[in-house]
């Protein structure tokens, strides 16, 4: 999985800024994508490219349970969010709905990965290669259940 980084160097990016409440009535996935990150970065929609990664701090996706949030990011082209930690419903929604990979990284990776860096991520080896900086970081391995649901392609394809 290869792509470039859009970095938001802050904690607690909540689902209200990922997809503002006024758009909760919308359920067309592409329409939602056009409003992704509007609460924090109105330029996001214009700059995001298919395959990009978001990198951010602690408690990414906190707040409302709106599945609109991972949907809007995923349909914008985001393949994974790399964060120091995730709020639980955003994490579940991303995995169970097979929208994107929520990848936990450590402080060192967070500090070193810069906006625009090219990353090559392997969930098989838990390695994140920073192609731009020629560095390698370890991601936190997925727990057993999460790994299985991801491998199956979402909760509905997972056989308990």
């Amino acid at each position: 999985m290869k792509g470039n980084v859009i970095k938001y160097e802050r904690d607690n990016i909540d689902t209200d800024v990922i997809l503002p409440g006024t758009y909760l009535k919308l359920h067309d996935y592409d329409e939602l994508a056009s409003h992704a990150m509007e609460g924090i970065d109105p330029e996001f929609h214009a700059k995001v490219k298919d395959g990009d990664f978001i990198v951010s701090g602690k408690n990414f996706g906190c707040g409302s349970s709106r599945e609109h949030a991972p949907i809007a990011l995923s349909h914008s082209g985001i393949k994974a969010v790399l964060a120091l930690s995730f709020a639980r419903i955003f994490y579940r929604n991303s995995v169970d709905g097979a929208f994107l990979l929520p990848i936990e990284i450590d402080e060192e990776a967070y500090k070193n990965i810069a906006n625009g860096d090219e990353l090559n991520i392997s969930v098989e080896t838990n390695e994140i290669k920073n192609v731009t900086k020629n560095q390698t970081y370890q991601m936190k391995p997925f727990s057993e259940i999460i790994g299985k649901i991801i491998a199956a392609g979402g909760l509905f394809k997972f056989k308990p």
């Binding site: 209200d16 409440g21 909760l24 609460g39 924090i40 707040g63 709106r66 599945e67 169970d96 909760l155």
Partner: protein, 423 residues
């Protein structure tokens, strides 16, 4: 085992569970509303295209639907979502659908306890993050997204990792000027907005025993703001009476063992508690009201699942009686049943005499949807539960979170005000 572990063990057919065990649990009740409902319908469409049978629910008698976020319909898209929801409940034979303009309706979490839709010991999931609220009845209550709710609707079960439990003990009865809202803001300020992440937040102690059901619901509601999987309080006679008065008498109370494990215990002395506000832009950004910054408020909002229950309105009425509001003030009772009781008790008359506007039950401006959203630069004091950037409207508006007492006192002065300092 503690109460949460016992409920999850019962629902997964296990003798014993410990934190970090992963189990599929049988769900007793499930809720969707006019935001998560159309989201679930969209998931069903996707599944149908993949050849998965979505013609029948696992048990439609265990499902209920609330119309609350964008009602009364703000514009065409919301109106169409309500039609979609009606078609959905008709197709699947869901009888408990609380429609606005047709008798009892209101905010989903409020209906859960007003209508005794969830009982002690049950596993209850809903398509809304504040589903945690209903844990005050002694149920395992947890919010999920559209895919997970769709999975529950079709399979009757869902996976959970058993959470570790943080125990918050309140010693003594809260003073008259302090409400449960002040306590939960204090707790969130202490542990942070990820301090309860993936965990259970359980409340106990003689201060909780003294607390009314409405006040307990405020505590469990805002465990969501600390990232918790669920908030819970062991059921007692007050819960039994509350449910009995709403026609629910048959349930099994589950309580924790005396030697149950809690990963950490926090103690709070009621007598030391002060009225608190959370400043923009996080519920953890707390300050004692008497030390709050002097800001010119534009608006007071009394609404939501957190702050528009009957006792919340009673607290507001106590302050506003015989006084006039100085800033735009909006009161939205959380359900029709509460609205009616507020009329009977004279609260609505007090609000109107004070100059406030009273609106219909709706999530409304709490989530920036409609009915009183904030303009650029506006500053609001609110009984709701979130104050993220743009939460109640423009991304450059600001919200201070406070108790109904503090919000009402501030409505009178136009500044953030401790109810004790109001003449």
């Amino acid at each position: 085992m503690n109460i949460t572990e016992k409920i999850l063990a019962r629902a997964s057919g296990r003798e014993r569970l410990s934190p970090d065990d992963v189990v599929f649990v049988n769900v007793d009740k499930v809720m969707l509303h006019d935001v998560s409902g159309p989201g679930v319908i969209k998931v069903f469409e996707k599944l149908k295209n993949q050849g998965i049978n979505v013609e029948k629910l696992w048990d439609s008698s265990k499902v209920w639907i609330a119309e609350d976020h964008f009602v009364p319909s703000a514009e065409k898209v919301s109106a169409e979502n309500i039609v979609k929801l009606s078609n959905f409940s008709k197709k699947y034979g869901i009888e408990k659908h609380f429609k606005y303009g047709l008798g009892q309706y209101g905010i989903c979490h409020t209906l859960s306890h007003e209508e005794a839709l969830v009982l002690p010991g049950e596993v209850y999931v809903g398509g809304d993050s504040h589903t945690n609220t209903t844990g005050a009845l002694g149920a395992f209550a947890c919010g999920l997204g559209h895919t997970d709710v769709a999975y529950v609707l079709l399979n009757g079960k869902i996976w959970f990792k058993v959470p570790e439990t943080l125990l918050f003990k309140l010693n003594g009865k809260l003073p008259e000027h302090v409400m449960a809202k002040d306590l939960i803001l204090k707790i969130i300020g202490d542990i942070g907005t990820d301090g309860g992440a993936y965990k259970t937040m359980q409340f106990a102690g003689n201060g909780i025993d003294e607390m009314s059901v409405d006040e307990r619901l405020t505590l469990t509601n805002m465990t969501t703001e600390a990232g918790a999987k669920n908030g819970i309080i062991e059921p007692d006679q007050k819960i039994v009476d509350h449910l009995a008065s709403r026609g629910a008498t048959e349930f099994t109370q589950i309580k924790g063992d005396s030697d149950a494990d809690y990963s950490k215990t926090f103690e709070y002395e009621a007598s030391e508690m002060e009225p608190i506000v959370a400043k923009p832009f996080s519920p953890e950004n707390i300050v004692i009201v008497r030390e709050a910054p002097t800001v010119e408020l534009d608006k007071a909002y009394i609404g939501s699942c957190t702050g528009a229950k009957l006792e919340d309105l009673e607290a507001v009425a106590k302050i506003l009686k015989g006084k006039k509001v100085k800033i735009r003030t909006e009161v939205l009772p959380a359900a029709i049943s509460i609205y009616k009781k507020a009329i009977e008790k004279g609260f609505i008359q007090i609000f109107l005499d004070a100059g406030a506007t009273v609106g219909p039950p709706t999530c409304g401006a709490c989530c920036g949807a409609h009915m009183g959203v904030l303009a650029k630069g506006e500053i609001c004091i609110s009984t709701t539960n979130r104050n993220f950037p743009g939460r109640m409207g423009h991304v450059e508006s600001q919200t201070y979170l406070a108790s109904p007492l503090v919000t009402a006192a501030s409505a009178v002065t136009g500044k953030i005000t401790d109810p004790r300092d109001l003449n």
